[in-house]
């Protein structure tokens, strides 16, 4: 039973990290219908920025709390700036191009960013400083649920609530929903669509940066390639839940996280990724619009 609970919690942790990344995919897809392939790289850059800032600060002897806060803020700021710039360079000129063009541009951006980090930094795995301390009160159940699991779950939960409030009640959130429904109509009622799209990219990548910081300190190492697999997994999760739907992304991520965790725990750890992709293929065969997605009829 302990083993089951342990797997359950590790699945939840995984799932909530996927959710943080998947939300970026789903929000961007909802608004401009683009699979932002470079999103995984944004997450990787967030983790790298956090790593660099945290290591520099720890060399200068800052206290742990200050390191966590500054590294977190830096990760969010730089990830968002990258996403903003990428959108301006690689996607905005292609807004009226055929569907395939922005997708290929996004793949190119993803390859570019990976190799940019590889060349500017290193190809080795780097040890990420442990930013989340072991809590004393977690001692009795530490063998089942680690402190970092707890922190990740709580952080994700808080971030989700903040995001829901932003999307539901704030002005920019309303503008986002309006643009997602009908871009032309949104323009007509006076919404600056370009800045809404930029805002979506910024919010999505801020979430990814938080995810990057959390997972990197949970796993304890990073390299330039982490964004690729995480990006594909998160995308799988977003598609599972129905891309474009925000609750769908969270649900899909949790299902994916739990599936992976149980499959590696009870079947075999070698085929972790195979399970994830097989799940994706199965869902798409039986429910092509995802679990919570709307089926849209193509109009001529």
């Amino acid at each position: 039973m302990d083993y089951f609970i342990e797997l359950f919690f590790s699945g939840l942790t995984r799932g909530s990290i996927y959710a943080l990344i998947a939300l970026g995919y789903t929000m961007v897809y909802g608004i401009i219908g683009l699979i932002n392939f470079a999103h995984g790289e944004i997450y990787m850059i967030g983790a790298f920025t956090a790593f660099i800032v945290a290591t520099v600060l720890s060399i200068y002897g800052f206290p742990l709390l200050a390191i966590v806060v500054i590294a977190g803020v830096a990760a969010v700021v730089w990830s968002s700036s990258y996403a903003y710039t990428i959108e301006k360079i690689a996607y905005k000129p292609l807004r009226h191009a055929p569907r395939l063009s922005p997708l290929i541009s996004a793949i190119g951006m993803s390859i570019f960013l990976q190799n940019y980090v590889l060349l500017a930094q290193t190809s080795d795995f780097l040890p990420f400083p442990a930013l989340i301390p072991e809590f004393a009160f977690m001692e009795p159940i530490a063998h089942i649920v680690g402190s970092s699991d707890l922190v990740i779950l709580i952080t994700t939960f808080i971030v989700m609530i903040i995001l829901t409030i932003i999307i539901k009640f704030s002005k920019i959130g309303k503008a986002m929903r309006a643009t997602a429904q009908d871009r032309m109509m949104a323009t007509l009622v006076g919404i600056n669509v370009n800045s809404v799209i930029s805002a979506t990219f910024i919010v999505g990548s801020a979430l990814a940066a938080i995810g990057g910081l959390l997972i990197a300190s949970h796993i304890g190492q990073i390299n330039f390639y982490i964004g690729f697999i995480a990006g594909i997994k998160a995308f799988t999760a977003a598609v599972l839940g129905g891309i474009g739907s925000i609750p769908g992304a969270v649900l899909g991520s949790l299902i994916l996280g739990l599936t992976e965790s149980f499959a590696t725990g009870y079947v075999s750890s070698d085929y972790e990724d195979v399970f994830a992709f097989s799940l994706l293929v199965l869902i798409l065969i039986f429910k092509p619009s995802g679990l919570l997605g709307k089926t849209t009829n193509q109009k001529v």
């Binding site: 683009l34 699979i35 850059i45 790298f48 920025t49 790593f51 660099i52 800032v53 290591t55 520099v56 060399i59 830096a74 730089w78 700036s81 990258y82 710039t85 360079i89 690689a90 292609l94 191009a97 055929p98 569907r99 395939l100 063009s101 922005p102 997708l103 290929i104 541009s105 793949i107 190119g108 951006m109 390859i111 570019f112 960013l113 990976q114 190799n115 980090v117 060349l119 500017a120 040890p127 400083p129 690729f228 594909i232 995308f235 799988t236 598609v239 070698d270 085929y271 990724d273 195979v274 994830a276 992709f277 097989s278 994706l280 293929v281 798409l284 065969i285 092509p288 193509q298 001529v300």
Partner: protein, 405 residues
């Protein structure tokens, strides 16, 4: 002239990029030694570089605007005009063929080997071109079929001792079979979903090859795969390399011939129709399911056959040769050359594969350049270097305002 306002804008842009690249370009930490290296020179390069790029872009945009005003941009390059004229085309093809045939006599076997690799990518590109360029199905897991072909040869040879020539068609058919297997579930999916599922499929194949040790010998791969045989003759290494090269030349010619004929066939037209508009295409009575499956399996067939040749050429394969990057390179070839254009794909493959070989110093930046090429091509020249010319009827009547292209 550059106005003060533009100068300010350029400066701001370069400042923004310096800020953007600051943590990753300037700071380098060593977590083991606990030392920090500040590479301020990188920030300076970045500033100067982006400042220049900003004005180059500005200039380019201005020129484009001016061109738009003065004349209609004619997309036909000299090469395309040459190819349209039958006599000139024959001379052109003859020259290329002669150079290709004499090539190994004048250069070292290393060069021949490099050229063989480039030719393999030509065929791979043409295979993917069927799927992406003609049928408009973005396949990001194309390398999986390549892997299927290579492993077919390696394993069939290892266990049953089958020779190269027997396995060549088998490898192709195996890959085609996998193409249909992949095709069935994804038929209902739209473009971007399809892309991600094919990517997942490619990764699944690679992961299985890596982890199922008893079947594929795992990450250590399979070595001592025999080179292609020539009527049982014993070839020296140099001869074998030349032989593989000629084999590849023949293979390229066959591929070009087949793809060219396919393009103008009923099937090829159905693919193009499918790419342009799925619903209209179905309304015209084209079986969408069958057409897509054929595109997948035919594209996969070429990849599988090249896979067999790849295994025979390198005599050693392991799953690391079949990563997503490989798929991305093949896709770059198709996109760079021009989707749907045979001659474009050939040039794309030669440029992308030969350039890094001859610019060894820049080989580190190869993948960086691939990424940048994909983005720039999509923005500035989405039709590729040599775009496909659609057969059209010219309708010349001077009093008509618009002439259909």
């Amino acid at each position: 002239m550059i106005s003060l306002k533009e100068l300010k804008k350029g400066l701001l842009t370069s400042l923004w990029f310096v800020f953007l690249t600051f943590p990753i370009m300037v700071i380098k930490v060593d977590p083991f030694e606990r030392t920090i290296t500040w590479r301020w020179h990188n920030a300076v390069y970045m500033a100067i570089g982006t400042f220049c790029i900003f004005f180059i872009m500005k200039f380019y945009m201005q020129r484009k605007e001016m061109k738009k005003d003065t004349q209609k941009d004619s997309n036909d390059s000299i090469l395309q005009k040459t190819l349209l004229d039958t006599r000139k085309r024959n001379i052109f093809i003859g020259t290329v063929l002669a150079v290709a045939l004499l090539f190994p006599q004048f250069v070292s076997s290393y060069q021949t080997n490099v050229m063989t690799t480039a030719l393999m990518y030509v065929v791979l590109g043409l295979g993917l071109n069927i799927v992406v360029g003609l049928a408009g199905l973005l396949d990001l897991g194309f390398v999986a079929f390549y892997a299927v072909g290579a492993y077919s040869y390696a394993l069939l040879n290892l266990h049953f001792g089958l020779g190269f020539w027997t396995v060549l068609p088998i490898g192709g058919l195996m890959a085609a079979f996998f193409g249909i297997m992949l095709g069935f579930p994804v038929l209902r999916l739209r473009g971007d979903y399809l892309a991600i599922v094919t990517l997942g499929f490619g990764e699944i194949i690679r992961l299985i090859l890596e982890n199922w040790g008893t079947f594929s010998q795992g990450p250590s791969g399979i070595s001592n795969i025999p080179r292609p045989s020539l009527f049982g003759l014993d070839l020296s290494l140099g001869q074998a390399i030349n032989y593989t090269y000629y084999l590849m030349i023949v293979f390229v010619i066959i591929t070009i011939f087949v793809v060219n004929r396919l393009q103008d066939s009923r099937l090829g037209r159905a693919w193009i129709a499918l790419r342009e508009d799925e619903i209209a295409c179905q309304a015209m009575g084209i079986d969408k399911r069958k057409t897509k499956l054929v595109a997948f399996s035919l594209g996969a067939f070429w990849a599988g056959a090249v896979g067999v040749i790849f295994a025979a050429k390198t005599t050693f394969i392991n799953p690391a040769s079949f990563t997503f990057l490989e798929s991305a390179i093949i896709l770059s070839i198709v996109v760079l050359g021009g989707m749907g254009s045979i001659i474009g794909v050939i040039f794309g493959a030669l440029i992308l594969i030969l350039m890094p070989e001859y610019l060894r110093a820049l080989s580190e930046y190869r993948m960086l350049a691939f990424g940048a090429i994909l983005v720039c091509m999509m923005i500035f020249r989405p039709q590729g270097l040599i775009s496909n010319i659609r057969r059209t009827y010219k309708f010349d009547k001077t009093n008509l305002k618009t002439t259909p292209k």
